[in-house]
Amino acid sequence: MAQRASVEVKTSTPVAPDRRMMPPVLRALLFAAIGFVVLDALTVLLDYSPQSPYLSQTGAVAGWFGALVGWLLGIGGYEHIIKPMLGFDDPGYKQVGWRRFFQLADDHKVIGVQYLVFSTGTFLIAGLVAMAMRFQLMSWQPTIFQYPQSYLNAVGIHGTLMMFTVATVAMFGGLGNYMVPLMIGAKETVFSKASGIGVWLVPVGVLTVAFSPLLGAWTTGWRGYEPLAASDGVGMLYYYLGVFALTLSSLIVALNLVTTILFKRTKGLTWNRLPLFVWGILTVSLLTVIWFPEIQTTFLLALTDKMAMLNMFNGLGHALGFSEFFWLFGHPEVYIVVVPALAMWNEIIPVFTRKSLFARPMAVLGLVFVMMLSGMVWAHHMFTNMRYSEMLPFSFFTEMISIPTGFAYLAAIGTIWNSRMRLTTPMLLVLMSMFNFLIGGLTGLFVADVPANLQLHNTFFVVGHFHFTIIGGMVFSWMAAMYYWLPKFSGRTYNEFWGKFGAIWVFVAFNATFLNFFILGLHGMNRWVSAYPKYLQPENFWTSIAAFFLGAGFGINLIHIVWAWVKGPKVQENPWQAKTLEWQTSSPPPRYNFEELPVVVAGFYNYGEGAPEPVIVAKQAGTQA
């Protein structure tokens, strides 16, 4: 896929390098190894005793920071960040063609593709872990996970990678980086170099989390919560560090995109005309800027606590403290995941229904109010251990947040009514996403109800609920967005039959898998168990079979999208006749997006006869088909 996008870039990239340099990824690995060894050695030297092992807990943590710095310098931080800071000239980007994707980049489109590839790769890794978990759960006794801690560690890795590298990143770091500057008519993002560094934190985080069991199993699940973490293996430390790297990456995305949206909008792109997806990314960025530093601080506290035994989060301190800090971030995180998806629905629906977006201000207000309310609902994750007096307010806000979430449905339903719908693959996936997220939302009524929650909490009912919101809401919308923007990424398109085939396959398998979770939960199946009472085995067995079909379905879609990106049939510019700005330039877009910046004179979601054209100028001569 890399070769495709490179064609347009020739004009602005420097000519071939004058001397050979080591491939940045290899150099980064080398620097990382050096960094690890040096800082680890330093910890030994500073606190030397004849018995001290070369690799200690402290050494592993210090070494990790050394490796992180080495990795970022090696990938290009040295030439493009450190040297220019010291007054040397930035030597420019020597890698061309597909090699651009394997180094520090400052082109938001390259960075977006890097994020998408990392997300997709991690989706595969964490998905395979899920398959292993489902294989284990086919039997009520241990099979492939002989020890419960290895199963629990798998659960933790699955959840952590899916949350911090896929759900939070794919539509935000990936599609957000690629599309937002195009959609607001900007030539580049504001902090393009920071953004380029940020994306390379993702592989660091993924590898740290994925290989953390080598240092000792951890059993806390994706929350990494104290006080259990204190007695867990040393791998726990690498969970905190890995998530720190991943959240730092998303924080950089947020700072970069929120600044870009605030200051780089093209002429005439007022707040009232801002595309829905950009509104989604803006609200998500603000949520990230508010809540990610909070969880990073918490994780660093927990890291220190585990190494130095400060007794902050156990029976001697405040045992629930970590959970409180965690969910204070944890619930806004859920909306960080799902808000771009809600925005994406209303981005895609008007294009394929050929109808003006209904109640646009409501759709935008919905996103904004979800953002504001999301920090007030978090304690519903703790109904089983909170004060009685807190139950009423938190259940109140939890139920109220369904009102602004519903506005996304209001706009979508108002738009498809009396429309002329083209039922293409992206449109079909949006409708499927609306169906799935509806089930996720309605089951939310049950878990938000405190008396029922006291039974459903920590059962598979809750697991089903959040997989319906995250896979059903976000992953289906992500797939819709990928099919929708394929012609933009590569100038090629997908096969309509295989697109629909893949969508229907995933939809059926997804519902067959996760609808079962609700029944399992009601039947007393609790979370975080590799072994369970025998009476639950038949239901679990069929759930697992459906889950394997779901895994295969994602594989089908992935192969199809990659094929379409690289070898799919060529397609005209703007095949959907969409009106937003990203379609007003060539596909794939040139290095600086627009030859001449477009000027916006009307909203992007007006259809029908006599609808005003939203853009003047700016079409490159000869690119409009």
């Binding site: 109640a359 139920e399 429309s419 009472p533």
Partner: protein, 274 residues
């Protein structure tokens, strides 16, 4: 207009069918506990009532949206052979529709917050205020990695075990039980790091309460049916908060028995010298 009438009729008819189906499901077990399997205690019955009510609320909402998606796919799709033109109706605002939507969603949310949530909670809170007149059975529950230990201070039982030596929980039916929940390891009191958060859950009773190290918490409930783990595997003590490698195995059998059978059991346990 024709579409609106057709949609409205379909919505009402399918919603009614849905409500009928849901009601049949709810009434497939006594006390309206068809879909909700944890209703062998007074708190579980409150939860079951909430669950049933929310099912009734959810049906018309679910039908409205799903019918809309299907209806649109059938009625508003550009079929093969038709010219793919722009939609004729380009209405971007409909104050009646938006107004009804907003008011209805606010009302539904306030309704379900008041009932079954707040009303159910009031009952749960009231059930916690047990007086000495009700002669509550006090069970001290100690959660450790990974075992539930039950002692009955009123009966001089320091650790209730069955004939295999496994921890077991015996409860008399229809008598309030006050569980006093603590998380610590009585065999390793020097090691505060093994004290983690557990959750005391009896799925058949429809309620759970976390057991937090350094705190003492209580949970009062009344078992309402004679049953046991052997009869119904839902009636078991199961740890519901991830507490480390032994978490899946942190369970204990439960027997809900008649008052006389309980007295007999307690006598035998106390005499058993434990």
């Amino acid at each position: 207009m024709a579409n609106m009438v057709l949609f409205g009729v379909l919505w009402i008819v399918i919603s009614l069918l849905g409500e009928w189906g849901v009601t049949a499901w709810i009434n497939s077990a006594p006390n309206g506990t068809g879909p909700y399997f944890g209703s062998f205690s007074n708190l579980g019955i409150i939860g079951a009532g909430a669950f049933d009510f929310l099912l009734w609320v959810a049906v018309p909402i679910f039908v409205f949206v799903v019918l809309m998606l299907v209806f649109a796919m059938i009625r508003f799709r550009v079929k093969k052979g038709e010219t793919p033109d722009e939609a004729k109706n380009q209405s971007r605002v409909n104050k009646t529709f938006i107004g009804i939507w907003v008011v209805a969603s606010i009302l539904v949310n306030i309704l379900i917050w008041l009932h079954p949530n707040a009303s159910g909670l009031e009952q749960v809170f009231a059930a916690q205020k047990v007086t000495a007149k009700q002669h509550p059975l006090i069970v001290d529950v100690t959660a450790r990695q990974w075992e539930w230990i039950f002692s009955y201070p009123q009966y001089g039982i320091s650790q209730a075990v069955n004939s295999q030596g496994d921890d077991v929980l015996y409860l008399p039916v229809n008598r309030p039980v006050k569980f006093v929940l603590q998380s610590f390891d009585p065999f390793h009191t020097y090691d505060y790091q093994v004290d983690v958060i557990h959750s005391f859950w009896i799925p058949g009773f429809g309620v759970k309460q976390d057991v937090v190290p350094g705190e003492t918490r209580t949970l009062v409930l009344t078992p309402t049916q004679i049953t046991s783990t052997e009869k119904n595997p839902m009636v078991r003590v199961q740890c519901a908060e991830d507490c480390g490698p032994g978490h899946p195995y942190m369970e204990a059998n439960v027997h809900v028995v008649s008052a006389s059978a309980f007295a007999q059991w307690a006598k035998a346990q106390a005499a058993g010298g434990s």
